[in-house]
C-alpha cells in the first residue's frame, strides 16, 4: 500500500543540501503584513446588513447601465415618430425588441446597420427583431416601408403576418394592411418571399401579393394586363382554380413567363401541361432544360430555366 510508504532517500546525502535560514527581520515583516491585512475573512453582522441593503441600489445601477442588445439609428423624416413610448427627435435609436410607430403625419428612416436603409411611411408599425452581423431582421406589423440594401443575399429580412421578405440584393417597398395582407414591389434586384416552404422569387419591376394563411401569391410584372392580375388574384387567394389559370394563360406575354414559371409548381399535372405548352409557345426551352424534367418539377432544371428567362425579362 503506497499511502503510508516513505519515499526513498534518493541520491542526496545528509549535509549536501543544508538548511538555509530566512533573513533577519522576516518575522517582523510577517507581522507587519498580517496587521495590514486583518486575519478575519468573514463579515460582521453590520457588514452583511450593509451589503444586503446596497443590493437594490446596485440592481438599479446595473439595470440602468446593463449592456443593451444591438440597435440601429433612427431619424425622423417628418412629424414625430415614436420608438416605444419615446418620441424620436432628429435622431434616435431603435433597439432589439423595440417598436417604431409613425402616425398619419410622420415618417422615419432606419439605418439597417451598415448595409442599408429603411424608410417607414405614415401609419406604420415596425419592430427590430435582430441586429446581428449575419441577421438584420425587422417585423412589419402594418404600414409601408421602402428598403434599400446593399449587401450579400440573405442578410436582411422583413417578417410580415403573411411572409418573410428575404433580401437578395435589392430595393423594394412592402405594404401590410390591418388584416395582415401585403404587397411587395421590387425596384431593383430580387426579393424572395418565403412562408412555410412556399417561395416566390420577385425580380425588379414585379409585384407579389401576400395573404395570411396562404403566404406569398404568384409574382407578376407591373405592366401585366389588368385581366391577368385579376385572374392571378383569383387563382392565388379566391380559389379561382383552373378557370383563373386559363385566363392567366390567355393573357400571358413573354414577360409573363415569370408568372407561368411559378404556376408550374402550384398546379396539378394536367394544368402543368397546359402551362408548359404556353411557355414553350412564348419562348423555346433553352439548352439543358427538357420538357420531361420541367414536368417532373426537377429543382435544378427549373432554376436553370428561370435564370435563362430572367436575362430576357
Amino acid at each position: 500500500m503506497m499511502r503510508d510508504e516513505r519515499a526513498p532517500q534518493g541520491p542526496l546525502e545528509p549535509g549536501e543540501l543544508p538548511l538555509a535560514s530566512p533573513p533577519e527581520g522576516m518575522w517582523e515583516s510577517i507581522l507587519a503584513s498580517v496587521n495590514a491585512a486583518p486575519t478575519r475573512t468573514g463579515l460582521r453582522w453590520w457588514q452583511w446588513a450593509a451589503a444586503f441593503s446596497a443590493i437594490p441600489g446596485l440592481l438599479v445601477v446595473w439595470y440602468a447601465t446593463r449592456p443593451r442588445p444591438g440597435g440601429w439609428e433612427v431619424m425622423a423624416l417628418k412629424g414625430a415618430p415614436m420608438v416605444n413610448s419615446e418620441r424620436v427627435a432628429a435622431a434616435g435609436k431603435i433597439r432589439v425588441g423595440e417598436w417604431l410607430r409613425t402616425d398619419g403625419a410622420s415618417r422615419a428612416r432606419i439605418e439597417v446597420g451598415a448595409i442599408g436603409t429603411v424608410e417607414v411611411e405614415p401609419n406604420s408599425q415596425i419592430r427590430l427583431l435582430a441586429a446581428k452581423p449575419n441577421e438584420h431582421r425587422l417585423e412589419l406589423k402594418r404600414g409601408e416601408i421602402s428598403a434599400v440594401v446593399s449587401a450579400p443575399p440573405r442578410l436582411f429580412f422583413v417578417d410580415t403576418p403573411a411572409s418573410t421578405a428575404v433580401d437578395l440584393g435589392c430595393a423594394y417597398t412592402m405594404k401590410t394592411d390591418e388584416s395582415g395582407s401585403g404587397l411587395l414591389q421590387v425596384t431593383t434586384g430580387w426579393v424572395s418571399l418565403e412562408w412555410k416552404g412556399r417561395e416566390s422569387m420577385v425580380p425588379a419591376g414585379a409585384r407579389c401579393r401576400t395573404r395570411p394563411g396562404t403566404g406569398p401569391g404568384t409574382p407578376y410584372f407591373t405592366d401585366a394586363s389588368e385581366a391577368l392580375q385579376d385572374a392571378l388574384a383569383s387563382f392565388d387567394f379566391e380559389d379561382g382554380g383552373a378557370a383563373a389559370a386559363e385566363k392567366v394563360l390567355r393573357e400571358a406575354r413573354f414577360r409573363d413567363t415569370l408568372t407561368l414559371w411559378h404556376l408550374l409548381s402550384r398546379v396539378g399535372p394536367e394544368e402543368r401541361v397546359r402551362i408548359l405548352d404556353r411557355m414553350i409557345q412564348l419562348t423555346p426551352l433553352p439548352d439543358g432544360v427538357s420538357r420531361e424534367q420541367a414536368m417532373a418539377l426537377d429543382k435544378d432544371t427549373l432554376q436553370r430555366w428561370m435564370q435563362q428567362l430572367a436575362w430576357k425579362w
Binding site: 503510508d4 519515499a7 549536501e16 543544508p18 538548511l19 538555509a20 533573513p23 522576516m26 498580517v34
Partner: protein, 186 residues
Amino acid sequence: MTDTEREVSAELIERCRQGDRAAFHALYQAYKDKVYSISLYFFHGNEAAASDATQQVFVKLITGIGRFRGDSAFSTWLYRMVVNTCLDHSRAAARREQPVVDNTAVPLSLEQDLARSEIAEKVQAALSSLPPKLRMPVLLRYFEDLSYAEMAEALHCSAGTVASRLHQGHKLLAQKLTRLRDGLRS
C-alpha cells in the same frame, strides 16, 4: 511524524487558532528554515524570491489557521501552502517575463556552509536544473521526509504520480550528481 511535527503540538496549533502571537512565533521558529530552504532551492537560489514566498506562506498561515481543521497533518497543510505559493510566484514571474531562474546563483546565506564542500554548490545547481514538477517532490522529500500520501496532498496529485515524479527526479539528480562528482575527481 517528522522531527518538526514532533515539535509542534496540538496545543500549539490550538493557541495559534486563538490568535496567540507567541504561539505563531513558535510555529515560525519551527518551520521557517524548512519553508525558506524549499523556496530557496525551488527558486534556484534566488534569495529575494525565496524571502517573498516564505513571508507569504507565514502570512497565509497566520491569517488562515482557522481553516486548518486537523483533517491532515499540520505539516501537510503547511507544505501545500508552500507548494501553491512557490508555483504562484513562478507563474507570476513567467507572466512578467522576468524569470527568477539563475542557475549560477548560490544562496548567500549558505555561503559559509557550502564553502565547506565544493560539491555542495554543484548539488544545488543540479537540483535547480530539475523541472519544477520533479523538483518540488524531491525538496519535500529531502527537507521534510513526507510520505507519498502527504506529498500527494501537498502537491494536489495522486500518490502514484508523486512516486513517479520522485523516481524521475531522483534518477535525473543522480545522473547529474554522478557527472559532477566525476568531474571534480578528475
